[in-house]
Every structure is written in structure tokens, then in C-alpha cells.
Symmetry: C2
Subunit: 110 residues, 2 copies
């Protein structure tokens, strides 16, 4: 087997990254505007270190990039990861529609 191990673990990370409401919120915010890590941390009822970890998870999943600016680390949304996740769900949707079409054919035949 080993279908495409790289892509599989990549998708694992992507969906894992989406599987937390704080991280989904971070993705939304940094897509619209720029935030430093501490700027983000100020928004949530958890420690700076916790938010730092969430950002790291998003970065590993290619949903976010960091760029150093002075002493701050600016977090920005990264379209790449989002597109990959979307592409997979589109693919599933396609499979689903093919199935629906087949079922319609069977009904038409009968």
C-alpha cells in the first residue's frame, strides 16, 4: 500500500489543526488582518504559551506563516493549507455526487 504517506500525514495535520475552535478563530483573524503572537494571545482566556503552541500547530499545517518584525512575530493566513483541505472535501463531494448520479440511473432503468 503506502498510498501517499506524505500527503496523508499532511492531511492529518491539516484537519487536526482545524479540529480546535481557538485555532479556527486564529485562522479567521489572521486571514483578515495581521496579528503578533502576543496580539493573538490577548484575545483568549489562556496563557501566552498556549496560544504560541496553537500557532505552531497551524504553522506546521501550512495554515499560517510567521514573519519576524522587530521583536514581534507577525502571523498571517496562508492560503495553501486551506486550499488543500478544501480540495479533499471537494473530492469527497464529487464521489458523493457520482454515487447519487448512479442511483438516479438505476432508478431510471427500473
Amino acid at each position: 500500500m503506502v498510498v501517499d504517506q506524505l500527503r496523508e500525514t499532511e492531511l492529518d495535520r491539516l484537519f487536526q489543526a482545524f479540529a480546535d475552535s481557538t485555532r479556527r478563530d486564529i485562522v479567521r483573524r489572521v486571514t483578515v488582518g495581521e496579528f503578533s503572537v502576543s496580539g493573538l494571545a490577548a484575545l483568549y482566556a489562556m496563557s501566552f504559551a498556549a496560544v504560541q503552541k496553537h500557532v505552531a500547530v497551524l504553522e506546521r499545517a501550512s495554515l499560517v506563516t510567521k514573519e519576524k518584525r522587530g521583536r514581534a512575530q507577525i502571523v498571517r493566513g496562508n492560503h495553501e493549507g486551506l486550499q488543500k483541505a478544501r480540495r479533499l472535501l471537494d473530492e469527497y463531494e464529487h464521489i458523493w455526487r457520482q454515487r447519487a448520479a448512479r442511483m438516479a440511473d438505476i432508478l431510471a432503468e427500473g
Copy 2:
């Protein structure tokens, strides 16, 4: 806050369910055809109980339904969960495009 706690935990479960390659494979298979739990278990190099747990995770996420048929439990794909996940990613994509449009406007002004 408490934005929409129900929906948030629902999304947590959905994306968590997608964050495992075995589960993604199960979703694909049961969308195309019908499988009993043991029928699925035969496909993977892990115990029946492990596959059973994966199916339970998918069921909790509304990505799959089970229906008893004789002594077998038939697993089928459920469009509902897939649509919800897709809708969220579409929403994010929309936010992204709005941002891109705004940036284009700014460039046009300048």
C-alpha cells in the same frame, strides 16, 4: 463569549474525524458502497475493535450512519457531516477572497 458552543464542538468532532487517514479511507469507501463493520475491518492491518472505534468516531461526527441488518451492522456515508465541514471551509475561502479583493482595491487607489 460562547459564540455557538454546540456548533463549535460539532466542528471539533468533524475535523477531528477527518484527521486520520484510516477514517478518511472509510468515509470514501462507505460513500461508494455498503460495508459491514467487519467488512471494513478486513481492509486494514488493525484489530476489529480498532476499526469499530474509528466507525464510532465517524458516527459521532455525522459522517457515517449505521443500520442493523441481521447480525451485521451496515455502515453508510452520511452527506450531512461532509456538507458542514465543506461549508466552513467555503466560508474561510470567502473571507480570503474578500481580503484579496480589498487588497486589489487598495492597489487600484494608489
